[in-house]
């Protein structure tokens, strides 16, 4: 074998290993979460997990308030971010001229790049005092404040992915609609949006996925009270999310204690939620690609 050939084979296999690294890492994340989190299942009886109190000092590990907290904040964020994000995506993709798009899209993506801790900082200094005064609440550190900022953080994801999807709709579709006498507005609603449906759906899923997993901002602005949210009023009370619980408590627990394993167990729950959300988003993308291939062939 010549040296050149050997080098070629070596490099090819190295690149192949790199290629498969993503699968290896997802597997490793799961394995290590299980390794540290599974003992929680054996040490803590199920009814302890399913109670409504999270109070680790007394060995009360009710994770329902935490799941509820994450849910309230995420639903709130979705209510803000989906309409605003999609409207911006449609406006940027379909209405504005090219040059405005070249300014608007990077600007929105700047928001995506702002560190979450900085948005939390803004939240503490400006948004929560404002909410306390404006809504005359006892504290501004509420689920609502978290939803507001998380919604803002989900928007860049939604805009960016949805705009790409809208932009990818073949121009011939729109030309056909316009030639039939449809207005620009009708074309957007009846032709472009339905054609980009799955991409838009993916955008929404990924945006929500980002909101569920966000840690620092919710830890800083939601008040961190582990109370099970009941009813709509919960939006204006302090809550504590799963992510914030891990971030706030992991630094103080003894490695190997029950509390430590339970925090990893919450990590498993979060991992599975994000896995589900992303698998659904991915299957939508793959289905769309298949359909596009069928149409084109």
């Amino acid at each position: 074998m010549k040296a050149g050939e050997f080098k070629e084979i070596l490099i090819t296999s190295l690149i192949k290993v790199c290629g498969f690294s993503a699968i290896i890492f997802v597997g490793m994340v799961f394995v290590f979460l299980i390794k540290e989190g599974a003992p929680a299942i054996f040490r803590v009886p199920l009814e302890n997990f399913l109670q409504l109190r999270w109070y680790p000092i007394e060995d009360r590990f009710g994770i329902l308030p935490l799941i509820g907290g994450s849910l309230v904040v995420t639903v709130g964020a979705a209510i803000f971010s989906i309409p605003l994000g999609l409207a911006s995506a449609i406006y940027i993709a379909e209405v504005t001229p090219r040059w405005a798009r070249e300014i608007l899209k990077p600007l929105v993506e700047v928001l995506g790049g702002l560190p979450s801790v900085m948005l939390g900082f803004i939240g503490i200094l400006i948004i929560t005092p404002f909410l306390r005064n404006a809504l005359s609440l006892p504290t501004g550190l509420t689920a609502f404040a978290g939803s507001l900022i998380l919604g803002g953080m989900a928007i860049p994801t939604i805009v960016s992915v949805a705009e790409d999807a809208l932009d990818a709709v073949p121009k011939t579709y729109q030309e056909a609609a316009l030639a039939m006498g449809a207005t620009h507005w009708q074309t957007i609603w009846r032709v472009t949006l339905p054609a980009a449906k799955s991409g838009v759906l993916t955008a929404v899923m990924l945006g929500i996925g980002r909101a569920i997993g966000e840690t620092m901002t919710v830890m800083m602005v939601t008040g961190n009270a582990a109370v099970f949210p009941t009813g709509l009023g919960a939006l204006f009370k302090p809550v504590r999310t799963m992510t914030a619980t891990i971030a706030a408590e992991m630094g103080e627990v003894a490695s190997g204690s029950t509390h430590y394993h339970v925090l990893f167990f919450i990590g498993i729950v979060l991992f599975l939620i994000s896995l589900t959300v992303n698998l659904i988003a991915a299957s939508v993308v793959f289905r769309q690609r298949k359909r596009a291939e069928r149409i084109l062939s």
């Binding site: 080098k7 070629e8 490099i11 090819t12 190295l14 192949k16 790199c18 290629g19 498969f20 690294s21 993503a22 997802v26 994340v29 290590f32 979460l33 390794k35 309409p83 409207a87 911006s88 406006y91 940027i92 209405v95 608007l104 929105v108 993506e109 700047v110 928001l111 702002l114 560190p115 979450s116 801790v117 900085m118 900082f121 803004i122 207005t183 620009h184 507005w185 009708q186 990924l206 569920i212 997993g213 840690t215 620092m216 800083m220 992510t243 891990i246 971030a247 992991m250 630094g251 490695s255 990590g267 979060l270 991992f271 994000s274 896995l275 959300v277 992303n278 698998l279 988003a281 991915a282």
Partner: protein, 301 residues
């Protein structure tokens, strides 16, 4: 017959006129709503950036950047946090850039569309979606405890590198795929091997796109707090790290600490730290944008 036809045509056109009038109004209303929504998303971004700069810049001085924090961080500078963040960003790059580019080359140049490739793509999407705090737990479990690296720069960099990987892979793959196939065909037909083609033809052409992706990935790593909480970040460590096995302060974590954990913190130092972090992140963002537009203007295909 003819007359009736004429009549119906005029009626039609009259109906059409009011109908199209209404459609036009609807369209104008719709576009206004969309424009307002876009304004509502874009304005806060500008306001945040302006607010941070206008409140923070007065507190910035050379001393603030090159001095150690004193008096329980209530005075002095933020040097260890700046050094820590730069170090972590470089450490992340060392691990994630070669691996990410390698993976992207595999996906774009070698992989055939089969079940395995699809599994890789799904894995990348999942890596991108894993919450940052879960990466923190993973880093704690694998690097800090299992591999006994302790809370150290190397443990933090490895954790951030895995988190950054999907961004680098997907942007690099996009850049590689954008290189026209004719480039490859020419190189192969001149007797180049596959690797020579990639190394001498495809990679140089895709370089600006790859750089953009790398910078955007590292920007995310530089600003993250949750993954470094348990893997590297020190609450208060007024000295510089001497090796990669040391813990260090970092800008995002420092901002978190001084805005929530330390009572009586002067607001000037909080905003000052925020400005430094924001500048760091924005500079990377602008670099990426500049590389992208420069490459677009220069590209011949």
């Amino acid at each position: 017959m003819v007359a009736r036809n004429n009549f119906s045509t005029t009626l039609d056109s009259r109906v059409d006129a009011s109908f199209s009038q209404r459609r036009k109004w609807l369209q104008r209303l719709g576009f206004t709503v969309l424009a307002l929504a876009t304004l509502a998303t874009v304005t806060p971004i500008l306001l945040i950036v302006i607010h941070i700069f206008s409140n923070g810049l007065p507190g910035i001085s050379w001393q603030f950047l090159v001095e150690f924090p004193r008096d329980g961080m209530r005075s002095g500078g933020i040097l260890p946090a700046v050094v820590g963040t730069v170090g972590l960003t470089l450490g992340t790059a060392v691990f994630s850039v070669p691996l990410g580019i390698g993976a992207a080359i595999y996906l774009s140049e070698y992989a055939v569309e089969n079940r395995w490739t699809r599994a890789i793509r799904i894995a990348i999407i999942n890596l991108a979606g894993i919450p940052s705090i879960v990466y923190g737990l993973f880093g704690l479990g694998l690097f800090v405890i299992f591999l006994r690296l302790g809370t150290s720069i190397i443990a933090g960099s490895l954790t951030l590198a895995i988190m950054t990987l999907p961004i680098i892979i997907s942007t690099t793959e996009e850049a590689l795929r954008a290189v026209p196939n004719s480039f490859r065909v020419v190189s192969i037909s001149l007797g180049g091997t596959r690797w020579q083609t990639i190394r001498r033809v495809v990679l140089p052409q895709a370089l600006p796109g790859i750089l953009t992706g790398v910078v955007l990935g590292l920007e995310r790593a530089a600003g993250e707090t949750a993954p470094i909480l348990f893997t590297v970040a020190a609450f208060y460590l007024p000295r510089l790290p001497t090796s990669v096995f040391d813990a260090t302060m970092a800008l995002p974590y420092h901002l978190f600490v001084i805005s929530t954990q330390v009572p009586g913190m002067p607001i000037r130092i909080q905003y000052g730290t925020a400005v430094v972090l924001l500048t760091f992140v924005l500079l990377m963002n602008i670099t990426a944008t500049v590389i992208r537009s420069w490459a677009r203007a220069r590209r011949q295909w």
